[in-house]
């Protein structure tokens, strides 16, 4: 069996998909895009390949054990969680090391004090790592930087006068950790997490069968026949030029893959917004992209979150609390931040302002959709912003208002739409050349 990798190197996140010859997705990888694109790509690919191992493990376990499907899925989920925790923990240790190294460049009068603070912080971080990860690490789209960053900041705040220094040291060290390509030994880490799973779930009686399944799944050959890359940073992907594909085409094909009756696709990513029309084969027939500014993109939401001192993930839920939406006239990133302050000073509620901003983004997207030729049944909404429930709510409302009762698809996997399209192009490329020759 051949496998194919599709990678979507976006401005905010990098996504990879591992797909088999039968167009089945066997692994998904997601990481934050960092300054070193090559590492971001490799991490996303590696994550997807790890995902593939767990898919294989599920298959083996179904074969080996006489357990319900639900129980098997539960075991896989737990095992994967523990596996990722081990990797998280390794990164905490690596960050600690890098912080220690950073101290060396501090003025000698401060070294001792900084060393003590770092030591205290990391004793705390390492001691509570599992509890913390259990609480905060469930959402796979929360990246190491954000996970550790939130906790680190709380602890660093206690360092009073050294807070700024500690944060600057953190910024430098986290960059090094992120841009360092982690060598993950799947067998070793998998085995370690499996042992933990046996303990927690008291599975000792199944050990030999699970061990066997794991052995097969972790060593099964994954022959990657072709990789295709796409996304904002596609030209920087370490792939040959002819294995780079346009984002528009990948999103069109990816949406068609997820929802075969799709005719119109709206993708709102970190950097741009795309309105795409596809035919019955997922081939793009027409498209429009946003202008040369961040207005109406995920990046715009990022600025809004910063302005309100909120996390990006908090915006949607906050917006849904709105009782009286505030009409925001501008989606210009600069103007809107001024408008936010203005509205706050007038006593408007944060949730109402944020709801207004969400609606303004959707209005802009609707205009782009109209420019691309309108919306046809079925309509698929994808991209990182399609994770925001408030945006989804307004998209649904406005599509219905303007185009009537259409089928609107939003996949939980929508962030992988472009990567899925890229994997399909990789598959198509290999299968076509096979057929031809």
């Amino acid at each position: 069996m051949n496998y194919f990798i599709g990678t979507d190197l976006g401005s905010t996140t990098s996504k990879s998909i591992v797909m088999d010859e039968n167009e089945r997705i066997v692994g998904r990888g997601l990481t934050n895009t960092r300054s070193n694109y090559e590492v971001a790509t490799k991490v996303a690919e590696q994550e997807a390949l790890i995902g593939a191992r767990f898919t294989f493990l599920g298959e083996e376990l179904r074969h080996e054990l006489n357990l319900s499907e639900e129980r098997i899925n539960d075991l896989i989920e737990k095992h994967e969680f523990l596996f990722r925790y081990e990797h998280y923990y390794d990164n905490v240790v690596l960050l600690h090391e890098k912080m220690e190294e950073e101290i060396e460049s501090a003025p000698s009068s401060e070294k001792k004090e900084l060393k003590n603070i770092v030591q205290e912080i990391f004793v705390e971080l390492e001691k509570n790592a599992f509890d913390y990860y259990q609480e905060a690490g469930k959402d796979k789209s929360t990246f190491f930087r954000d996970l550790i960053g939130a906790q680190y900041m709380k602890l660093a705040e206690q360092a009073n006068t050294y807070f700024e220094t500690m944060m600057s040291m953190f910024d430098k060290s986290i960059m090094i950790v992120e841009n360092h390509m982690p060598e993950i030994n799947i067998e070793k880490l998998g085995r370690k997490s499996l042992d933990k799973l046996f303990q927690i779930e008291q599975l000792e009686q199944l050990k030999s069968k699970v061990d066997k399944a794991f052995q097969i799944a972790s060593t099964r050959k994954i022959n990657i026949a072709c990789k295709v890359g796409t996304g904002y940073g596609r030209l920087r992907l370490p792939y040959p030029k002819d294995q780079i594909q346009s984002e528009i085409l990948c999103h069109g094909l990816g949406a068609h893959y997820m929802f075969p009756n799709t005719r119109t696709v709206l993708d709102i990513g970190g950097q741009d917004t795309k309105a795409i029309q596809v035919d019955e084969n997922g081939i793009v027939t027409s498209f429009q992209m946003n202008d040369r500014c961040a207005a109406g993109t995920g990046r715009f939401l990022g600025y809004v979150a910063d302005e309100l001192n909120l996390g990006l993930q908090e915006l949607g839920p906050l917006s849904l609390q709105s009782k009286k939406l505030v009409k925001i006239s501008s989606t210009c990133t600069v103007f809107s931040t001024i408008e936010i302050r203005d509205r706050l000073s007038l006593g408007e509620r944060r949730e109402d302002i944020v709801a207004g901003l969400h609606k303004a983004i959707v209005k802009r997207a609707m205009s782009l959709l109209a420019r691309s030729g309108g919306i046809y049944n079925e309509f698929t909404f994808s991209g990182g912003v399609a994770k925001n429930q408030a945006i989804i709510k307004y998209v649904k409302e406005m599509v219905e208002e303007n185009y009537g009762d259409l089928t609107i698809n939003v996949s939980g996997d929508s962030i992988f739409t472009g990567a899925a399209g890229a994997a399909l192009f990789a598959r198509k490329r290999t299968m076509t050349s096979k057929e031809e020759g």
């Binding site: 346009s246 528009i248 085409l249 081939i283 027939t285 040369r292």
Partner: protein, 430 residues
């Protein structure tokens, strides 16, 4: 190293090099006009009567050409900002703002060259309704007379008898008497006819050159190379023997390329391999001309027909000047330039180009600061997609304001467009 005559150096063929020579000579004519006792007239590329001006020894100066030179030399920004600092809004035509910027810079234009002030202004409003306001500003600043012709929008796809009479009356009763007064020279109808005969020859040669893009490979790029080729006909040289000689040279270089099965000369090398044949509506940027051209070169996409090169007249549609109908044909030529056409007529012309030049698709490049060109473009896009079944692409830029040009954005859009064409070809969709 390619030693063929048709590609001499710096990616320019013999005709493109000749165009440069003519342009340098024309700049000298502008600089020397006053010393030679000639009057200078500021006028416009798509709305002028250059042949008539020649009859009075008047040297035309084109503010849009001065503007595009600023763009090509990458110093447009300071002139545009000069216009904006004077109070003109960011979305006002960048040619207008750069012209105001130059005016406020003591008439020192691109490359630090001082441009002599005009003795008078002449414009025809066809193509762009901003012309009138623009020249009102210039009139006030240069404090000189303005001669103008008003022509209606071309509602009927052709010039009607009434429209013709309306225009001809203005030439005879308003323009000629004023030009006689300004220049002190008597109008000579025979000279105008001779000049128009020369223009006709230029236009006929040029029409042949446009048509040559039907060959495979196309020996010309209807946009990037033709922007050089149309230089002389769009400026001083209409109605001159030098102009006729130039277009014979253009034709000769194209004939040589056809015989040798060669593609057009580009700054990046000759483009013999042509993967896509594209028809382009507008889509011009002077400021990033080379980067923009490179995207098409990299994609092996040749523009087989373009509308931007038809702004001074749709000669390729047989709209030639006619010495036997001198005044009428002057009016007709201005009535039928591309931007004076209705949106349905522009759409029809684009469709004709797409079909006759056997294009693989078409692109529509909207100009941020040009409403005249950009209005109705999305309607055209949809209509052309429906009529031809071919993939259309839409993007936005500005003719000279670098703030509206993002290379990565344009490249991203165009690359996506060409990949869409590829996929549709692969799937056997037309």
């Amino acid at each position: 190293m390619d030693n063929s005559k048709s590609e001499q150096h710096f990616g320019k063929d013999e005709a493109m090099l000749k165009e440069k020579e003519l342009n340098v000579a024309y700049e000298k004519k502008i600089q020397n006009a006053k010393a030679e006792g000639k009057k200078l007239c500021y006028t416009l590329v798509p709305g002028n009567l250059v042949e008539l001006l020649h009859c009075f020894d008047i040297v035309p100066v084109f503010p849009e050409i001065l503007g595009l030179q600023m763009g090509l030399r990458r110093d447009a920004r300071s002139f545009i900002e000069g216009g904006e600092n004077a109070g003109y809004s960011e979305d006002v035509c960048s040619y207008v703002k750069s012209s105001v910027g130059m005016l406020l810079n003591n008439n020192i234009g691109s490359g630090g060259k001082k441009i002599p002030k005009p003795d008078f202004l002449f414009y025809i409003n066809s193509q762009c309704f901003t012309f009138m306001k623009w020249f009102e500003i210039l009139r006030k600043s240069y404090d000189c007379p303005t001669v103008a012709i008003h022509l209606p929008y071309n509602h009927h796809g052709k010039t009607t008898e009434n429209e013709l009479k309306y225009g001809v009356d203005q030439i005879k009763n308003v323009v000629i008497p004023q030009l006689e007064k300004i220049s002190g020279k008597k109008f000579d109808l025979e000279e105008l006819k001779e000049r128009l005969a020369l223009s006709r020859q230029m236009e006929q040669e040029l029409a042949w050159c446009y048509e040559s893009a039907k060959h495979r490979p196309s020996p010309v790029d209807g946009m990037f190379q033709f922007l050089y080729y149309v230089g002389p006909i769009n400026t001083y040289y209409r109605g001159t023997q030098e102009g006729v000689d130039f277009y014979k040279t253009v034709r000769k270089t194209i004939e040589e390329r056809i015989a040798a099965k060669q593609g057009p000369a580009t700054p990046f090398g000759r483009m013999d391999e042509q993967k896509y044949r594209i028809v382009m509506d507008c889509g011009i940027t002077w400021d990033h001309f080379r980067d923009y051209n490179k995207i098409f070169f990299d994609e092996k996409a040749v523009i087989v027909a373009a509308t931007y090169t038809k702004v001074s007249g749709t000669y390729d549609q047989g709209n030639f000047h006619d010495p036997d109908r001198p005044f009428e044909s002057l009016i007709e030529s201005n009535m039928t330039n591309y931007c004076n056409l209705t949106i349905p007529d522009k759409t029809n012309l684009m469709e004709k180009y797409i079909k006759e030049f056997e294009a693989d698709g078409f692109l529509i490049g909207s100009i941020k600061s040009c409403k005249s060109f950009s209005a109705g473009m999305l309607t055209m896009l949809r209509e052309l997609e429906n009529r031809t079944g071919l993939p259309g692409g839409f993007f936005e830029l500005d003719m000279m304001d670098a703030r509206y040009y993002s290379d990565s954005n344009i490249r991203n859009r165009l690359e996506s467009y060409f990949r869409m064409v590829d996929e549709r070809k692969k799937e056997g969709i037309k």
